[in-house]
């Protein structure tokens, strides 16, 4: 990278979960004193996150379970809005947050493609245009007309990967989803991800598997207890990540 152009910029981002803890007792207080009591308690998931990810970069997020990695990705894909701070995105985002989500088991492959694309905000005309491309990439052949309940797990993830990837995203968010499917399809996915990357897209990769990450990414961030503790090269971050488990 000769010029550094930001693709994603997070400034002082706080993200909270809203949990109700006190049951119906709090409901009474809430209704009797409008505006005074809060029905839901805030608990911080991410606190004061500052992060810049540059154009064309492959960036990894490493961290323990429950450290806030997935929440960060959800925030980047627009599913959660931050409570404080700003998230600036300089391109279209495609989240791969969980393969098989939104697939309706009683419907056929084709019907599911149409449904998922619609949920992703595509119009009818767009879907019609992309349909053949999705079908051919999924390599499901005859099975595209089967009900999805007859699919194997691998076939389902093929279908959803093909759907998610189709919009030629400028920012691709991957949440530990590529480890499903058979070896052939895994390689194909990786190849496709690489192709998207070579076209100049930015890739953010969440994992707690360091080896997976080190093959793909150049820079990484260590997420721990809802804060970004350290940003640096994959090697440095990997070392610090391993230290977390030392004692």
């Amino acid at each position: 990278m000769n010029s550094v152009e930001p693709m994603i910029r997070l400034t002082n981002v706080d993200i909270c979960f809203y949990v109700q803890e006190n049951g119906f007792v709090s409901m009474k207080d809430f209704l009797l004193h409008p505006g005074k009591y809060k029905l839901l308690q805030k608990s911080f998931v991410l606190k004061d996150v500052n992060l810049q990810i540059n154009k064309g970069e492959s960036f990894a997020l490493l961290g323990k379970n429950g450290s806030g990695k997935s929440t960060l990705l959800r925030a980047l894909s627009g599913i959660i809005t931050p409570d404080k701070g700003t998230i600036e995105l300089f391109g279209a985002v495609a989240p791969l947050l969980g393969l098989g989500v939104g697939l309706e088991h009683e419907l056929t492959g084709i019907e599911n493609i149409k449904l998922s694309c619609a949920l992703m905000g595509m119009t009818k005309a767009e879907i019609k245009l992309r349909l053949p491309e999705i079908i051919s990439f999924s390599e499901l052949g005859e099975a595209i007309n089967w009900q999805v309940k007859r699919y194997s797990t691998g076939m389902m993830s093929r279908l959803s990967f093909s759907i998610a990837i189709i919009k030629q995203p400028e920012i691709l968010l991957i949440d530990e989803v590529l480890s499903v499917g058979d070896l052939g399809f895994q390689q194909k996915c990786m190849k496709k991800v690489m192709e998207i990357k070579n076209n100049g897209a930015t890739i953010i990769f969440v994992s707690h598997n360091f080896e997976e990450v080190s093959n793909m990414c150049t820079r990484a961030a260590l997420v721990n207890d809802g804060t970004v503790e350290f940003v640096g090269s994959v090697k440095e971050v990997g070392e610090r990540y391993n230290h977390l488990f030392d004692n």
Partner: protein, 271 residues
């Protein structure tokens, strides 16, 4: 009190600007989800649409056998059937809107889609289902003595008002249901009681003045009576029935949307 007042003032603005109602992609998402619901309902069943008709027909038989003895009106069967069809529509669609957030939890958590899509598509599916079942029901209604005239035209705008009422009430309870799952159970428990609190098995004329006053505290009263006006009395809904329905619908969508909009930030962490 000023808290509520301030809220009411800001409401129309918030409602119009924050919702992607006119976005083509959003519209397509709502329709696709609704279509999915309809498809799934009838996919693996042999009798298909007739299951939606069976429940009112069974109840109709009961009402004709038992309640005809106390209701000495002309065409009681038509009165009962009209009430049953629309009572079923209202009570069933409220439940579908109520559970729409929980039913779509996985989509809510992983796809960037405005969550208003879920109750709205549940409502669209319910209206579509009503239209589908209404066609065969019309045959029965004509058979039972329905005389169609211009007042029929009131059916379409009035159904939109009903849908707005259902959407608001369902969305309010659906929002609370995300945090307290008791709401769903509470609703399914009290809805049979409301059936007898609404003039379906009997006419309001059967009651005395005081009892009728109580009856009119029930919001469902005005909706079911409006449908009685259209399909049983073959007249346009009375000013009271129509006006109150409209008022209740607007109140319902205001409160429902407000609750939804305030607490939807908590959906992801509680669903």
């Amino acid at each position: 009190m000023s808290y509520y007042l301030k809220f009411a003032q800001n409401f129309p603005k918030a409602f119009m600007t924050k919702l992607p109602l006119f976005n083509k992609g959003f519209q397509n998402a709502v329709l696709s989800l609704a279509l999915k619901t309809i498809k799934l309902r009838y996919k693996n069943s042999f009798l298909g649409i007739f299951w939606s008709m069976l429940n009112p027909l069974i109840f109709l038989t009961i009402l004709i056998i038992v309640f005809k003895q106390i209701n000495h009106i002309e065409h009681f069967a038509l009165y009962a059937l009209t009430g049953l069809i629309f009572w079923n529509f209202i009570s069933a669609s409220i439940l579908q809107v109520l559970t729409s957030f929980i039913d779509n939890a996985s989509i809510l958590k992983s796809i960037n889609l405005h969550p208003f899509c879920f109750p709205l598509s549940a409502m669209v599916a319910a209206v579509f289902n009503l239209m589908l079942t209404l066609l065969p029901f019309f045959v029965i209604m004509f058979f039972l003595g329905y005389e169609m005239n211009w007042s029929f035209l009131a059916f379409f705008p009035f159904t939109i008002i009903t849908a707005i009422f259902v959407l608001g009430l369902g969305m309010f309870m659906g929002t609370v249901n995300v945090f307290f799952r008791d709401i769903q159970l509470l609703w399914t428990t009290i809805i049979p009681a409301f059936f007898y609190f609404t003039p379906i098995a009997y006419t309001p004329e059967l009651l005395n003045e005081n009892q009728r006053f109580l009856l009119k505290l029930n919001p469902f009263y005005y909706f079911v009576e409006s449908y009685h006006d259209i399909f049983y009395r073959s007249v346009f809904p009375s000013f009271e029935n129509f006006g109150m329905s409209l008022f209740i619908a607007l109140l319902s969508i205001t409160i429902g949307y407000a609750a939804f909009n305030k607490y939807r930030k908590g959906f992801i962490s509680n669903i």
